[in-house]
Structures are given as structure tokens and as C-alpha cells.
Amino acid sequence: MTTADIAAGPPPRTRRERPTLTAVITWVAAGCFVAVILGVLASVVVQSFATTWRGGWWPAGLTATWYGRAWSSTGMSQALANTAQAGVAVVVIALLAGVPAGYLLARRAFPGRSVVMLLMLLPIILPPMTYAVQLAALMYRVGLGGSMTAVVLVNLVPTLPLVVLIMVPFVEQISPEVENAARVFGANNLRLFSRVLVPLLLPGMLAAGILVLVRTLGAFELTFFVSAADTQTLVVALFGAISDPGGVPGPLTAAMAVTYMLVAVLGLAVSLRFVTPSQAIRQRHR
């Protein structure tokens, strides 16, 4: 080929990269993962509409009556409201307390740092079962038992350290010079956080927030022991129903699960709408 040939050809718009082996493997693996997830999701949805489904590709018939039963029999609406309330409160408080703590643990080498670190580590690694009852008793003793406050407080125990631990590497990534600049230009601690660090830490906070929310939504033990009938969350209701020794029909639990999923997916989609966790702060070119 002569140079003229190539030069005459249409200019390459942008350099297209050939997919590498690792890329192919990654995408295939991701594809499998996504397929399983969607399969699980679809099966639960299908099951929730099934009259009977005893194996095979498709249930025998479809019906929407399970939803009615799920809604009426288990106080779902109350539980939904509680879940939303508790979820939001826990996320907000955990972030408010956890982000500054994570910041300090990442930036400072102060005396006693390792003790604090350990203190933050323990609640995450201890199974909640081992302290749930005592914690609940404490809540009842101070007169909070059964209240929404108690539900929020006990859920902070495993989630706050989670926030702290996740934030540490995120903080380490931020150049201290940017922080210095903010200080010089008159930002006190509060403003340093609200105007500079929080925006820069947003991806990390979002990650932490999602995980906290999920933990709170999914935390059964702690919530169960302190919640009263009118403050229980969805999972407590759901777990109670699923573990009903009488054997609850599959489609009924599936219907409850789908309701729960809808709420969760909605929350997730909304949060992703506003921030993408990977929103690279310094996205350079390309």
C-alpha cells in the first residue's frame, strides 16, 4: 500500500481500540453475572404472579391476587413507610458522623488512632446476633425501645463503621493541597467539608450511602429486637413471613419480595440518577 492510498482514505474519527483478551473475559463474566441477576429477578417476579409454578419454564397460570394478600395480611404499607424512614435517617446520620471520622483517620496520625480504628472495625466483624439482645435491652432501658429512634440508633452500630472504613481510602486519594487552598481562602472546617470535601468525596459517599442503605434495609436481627409492631421494617416483616413455620406459599413471599424490590430499585435508580459512583472527579479528556 502506498502512503497516498491510506492518506486518501477517510480520516479515522477516533482511535478505536481492539478489544483485548482481558476485556473479553471481563465482559463475558459480567454478562454471566448480569444474566444470573436478571434471572433471579425475573423468576421472583414471575413467581409472584403464578397461580402454581412447580418447575419448568413457565408457571401454569397467572394471577395478581398474591399482591392483595401480601398487602393486606402483613402490614406492608406501614412497614414500607418505616423502612423508608429508617433507611433515610440511618444513611444521613451515618454519613454525617462517619465521613468526618473517616477523614480524620485517613489524614491524621494522632495518638490513639489505632484504638479508634479498632473500635470502628469491631462492630463490622461481630455478628449482630452476639450483641443484638443486649443492645436492644439498652434501648428499652433508656426508654427508647420500640421507637423509631431506637431502630435508627441500633442500625447505626454496624453501618457507621462501614462508612468510616469506606471513606478512608477515598479521602487518601484527595490531594491535601486542594484542602490547603480551601483553608487559605477562608473555609473553616464546616465549609471545608461542605464546599470542597463533600463534592470531592461524593463518589465515596454514594458508595457508602448505598451500602448503608442496603445494610439497613437488610438488617434483620438488630431491627427486630428493638422494633415494635408499628416500627418494624419491611425485612422484619418479610423475614417473619418467610420463616413462618406454617409454610407460606412461595408466590406470597415472592409478591412481598417484589414489592420490596420495587422500592429498593426505585431508591437505587434515583440515587444513580443524581450521581454515578464512578463520576471521576478529574475526568481528563477522552
Binding site: 402454581t52 409454578w53 412447580r54 418447575g55 439482645v133 428499652y140 427486630f224 409492631a229 418467610i242 409454610g247
Partner: protein, 375 residues
């Protein structure tokens, strides 16, 4: 921080204004009886302002009650649960002894309970009042399309399982009514030395279950899972209990054509739900809770439970014919009218193991049988 066991008797006091009740269900009692409790609230607005319900896995109930008591702030009025819940409540000193202390506030149980129920009621040591009773099983469920005659003795069952490995199983006794019923009936069928002592008196049972376990690929973690596997045809033969047979067909988990059969030497193990009152409730709550227990045992209320798959109620004076129309229809459609009435009349009735003994049996089962699965 443990609650002291001082048993001062609280005197019930009629509340001057209606109070709120909280029922904590650790046994699926609400499935059948919620309608009764709602009726109570309707019937006695002067006592009850409202009832809220909470459900929980049986093992977690005690912890919850305990947490409230340690803090001296009990807001659960009534605990609903099986013998396991009652046992835990009793050993941990969490629930009130209702009989004989409050017998004056309760109906005369001898007028209400038949012999089998009474045996179970006595096991409770007066810490609870039976509000639901079923001779549970064991029964064997099978698909008539693939099996004409199911085994009728443990030996036949073993032989069948040997020939069809992986097609028979039972759910873990600790988490399943059918599983534990099956396990508890075996000492009687196999002629073990002491059916009430799993530690020293069940040698034949343990040997049998170990042998049977060789042909089992896994023990499902709950009845629900087992029922689904049976319904989808992965399993050909499972032990079951009466209510589950009815509900599984009604809910479509099983095919409507699936059949059940008794053992030749049938030993029914009974099961029931108790109503319990946690220590630390106020005299007013106690008063209303006792009223609720009384109300629940009324014949007209018990008759309502037929609509939820019961074949027998907690009040011996109630007959299926007393059931409301929907209950009648249900019994007609799923209640195997040609099978259950005479089946329940035959065989022997036994109460289940008392809770602490039962836990030992579960533990032993797990070590002796469960831990060897698949290895």
C-alpha cells in the same frame, strides 16, 4: 441484668379506658387466628383500642421479650407460639404462669380440651393456654402418577429410599414441623426403649435415621423448601403433616392430585399453639390479655379456623359442621373428607417432646445425622 424470678402474682385490673395490644407471633398462629383477634377488638371496644401484630422466627421471640424485660418496659401483650417458644419463655423465666393463678379469669379447660389437647396443655406447665391443636402427622406425601402404593412401615421406607436415592428427604427437624414430627414418631414405630429420651432412649431411631441418611442428598432447611421441591417433582416422597397437606394443595405448591398416606402403625404427634403473657405487663394489659384468651376459645370463634386449613379446633365442642360456608367449602375441596376423618380417629396420639428435650434431639440429629449428609 437478668430478670429476677420473683413470682409475685399480678392482679389483673380492668382498664378504665381501652388499651392497645401487641401480639407477637412466633408460630404462624396468625394465619388461622388473626380473624378471631380482630373480632375481639371489634367486640370489646371498651377494652381494646387496637391490636398490632408482629411476626418473628420462633427462636428469636425469647430474645425480643427478654430485651424488653431487662429494660423493664414490656410492650408485647401476648406471645403466640408453639411448644418451642413456650419452652424458651419458661426456662428463661420470661412468661407468666397463667394456670392455676388466673384460672378464675379463664374458661374451664377441661370443658374445652379433648384428651390429646389436654396432654399438650399439661406439658405447658400452665405457662400458656392452647389455642390451636392438630394431630400433626407424620404422613407420607407422594405423587400418585409415579407411585401407586407408598411404603407403610419404616423398613419399607428405608428399602424404597435405597432403591431411589435422592428422591426421599425430610426437612431439618429444627426448622420444620413435618421433619420433627417424623423424627418424633420413629421411636414409637421402631420400638425404642424410651421415646421421651432422645439422648439415651432413641438408639434404634438414630441408627435408622443414619442409615436412611445415606440415601438422602440434602435436608432442606425449611418445610417451604421441601414442599417446593416435592411440588416441582424433584422429590417423590416426603413426610408431611395435615395442615401442610391442605395448604400446599390449596396454594398450588403441590398438584391437586398429590396424595398422602398413613403408616400402618400410625403414631400421631400432636402440635399446638399457645397463648402466653410476658412478665412485666401492666395489670390492665393482663386483664385484657386474659379476656382475649377466653374469647379465642369460644366455640363460635374456633369454628372460624376451619377456613384456614384446620381439621380440628382447640375446642372439642366445635364440629366441622359449625364452620362458616367458606370453611365448609375448603374442607370439602382440600380436606380429604374421605380420608382424614377416619385417619384422625385411628392410630395413637402422643404429645411432642417437651421443649428442652426437643432441643437436645435437634442437636443430636444435627450431629448424628445432618452433619453426615452428602459426605
Amino acid at each position: 441484668a437478668q430478670q429476677t424470678g420473683a413470682d409475685e402474682v399480678v392482679t389483673p385490673e380492668r382498664p378504665t379506658s381501652p388499651i392497645a395490644l401487641t401480639l407477637l407471633d412466633g408460630a404462624g398462629n396468625l394465619t388461622g387466628n388473626k380473624v378471631i383477634y380482630d373480632n375481639f377488638a371489634k367486640a370489646h371496644p371498651e377494652l381494646v383500642s387496637g391490636i398490632s401484630y408482629q411476626t418473628a422466627p420462633a427462636p428469636d421471640v425469647a430474645g425480643k421479650v427478654r430485651a424488653q424485660q431487662v429494660a423493664d418496659k414490656v410492650d408485647i401483650s401476648v406471645v403466640l407460639g408453639g411448644p418451642d417458644v413456650l419452652g424458651a419463655g419458661q426456662t428463661e423465666n420470661l412468661i407468666m404462669q397463667l394456670l392455676p393463678q388466673y384460672s378464675s379469669s379463664l374458661p374451664d379447660l377441661s370443658q374445652v380440651q379433648d384428651a390429646a389437647s389436654k396432654e399438650l396443655q399439661d406439658l405447658s406447665g400452665g405457662y400458656g393456654v392452647l389455642n390451636r391443636y392438630n394431630p400433626n402427622g407424620p404422613l407420607l406425601a407422594f405423587h400418585p402418577g409415579t407411585m401407586s402404593a407408598p411404603p407403610t412401615t419404616p423398613d419399607e421406607l428405608l428399602a424404597w429410599a435405597r432403591e431411589h436415592p435422592g428422591q426421599f428427604t425430610y426437612a431439618q427437624p429444627a426448622n420444620s414441623g413435618p421433619g420433627r414430627t417424623f423424627m418424633m414418631s420413629l421411636p414409637y414405630m421402631l420400638g425404642d426403649s424410651d421415646p421421651s429420651d432422645p439422648v439415651n432412649g432413641w438408639s434404634k431411631t438414630w441408627a435408622y435415621l443414619r442409615e436412611l441418611g445415606k440415601y438422602v442428598t440434602s435436608y432442606p432447611a425449611s418445610s417451604t423448601i421441601m414442599n417446593q421441591q416435592f411440588g416441582s417433582g424433584q422429590l417423590q416422597l416426603i413426610p408431611t403433616i395435615v395442615s401442610m397437606d391442605i395448604n400446599s394443595r390449596r396454594d398450588g405448591t403441590w398438584a391437586g392430585t398429590d396424595q398422602v398416606a398413613m403408616f400402618a402403625d400410625q403414631h400421631w404427634i400432636g402440635d399446638g399453639h399457645f397463648m402466653m403473657i410476658p412478665k412485666g405487663v401492666s395489670p390492665q394489659t393482663l386483664y385484657v390479655a386474659l379476656e382475649l384468651i377466653k374469647f379465642t376459645l369460644q366455640p363460635d370463634q374456633q369454628a372460624l379456623t376451619y377456613a384456614t386449613g384446620s381439621l380440628i379446633t382447640a375446642n372439642k365442642n366445635v364440629k366441622p359442621s359449625d364452620a362458616p360456608a367458606d370453611g365448609q367449602a375448603l374442607l370439602q375441596q382440600f380436606g380429604r373428607p374421605d380420608f382424614y376423618p377416619q385417619a384422625l380417629a385411628s392410630g395413637q396420639n402422643h404429645p411432642p417432646l417437651p421443649p428442652p428435650t426437643m432441643v437436645k434431639a435437634f442437636d443430636l440429629w444435627q450431629r448424628e445425622v445432618g452433619s453426615h449428609v452428602g459426605s
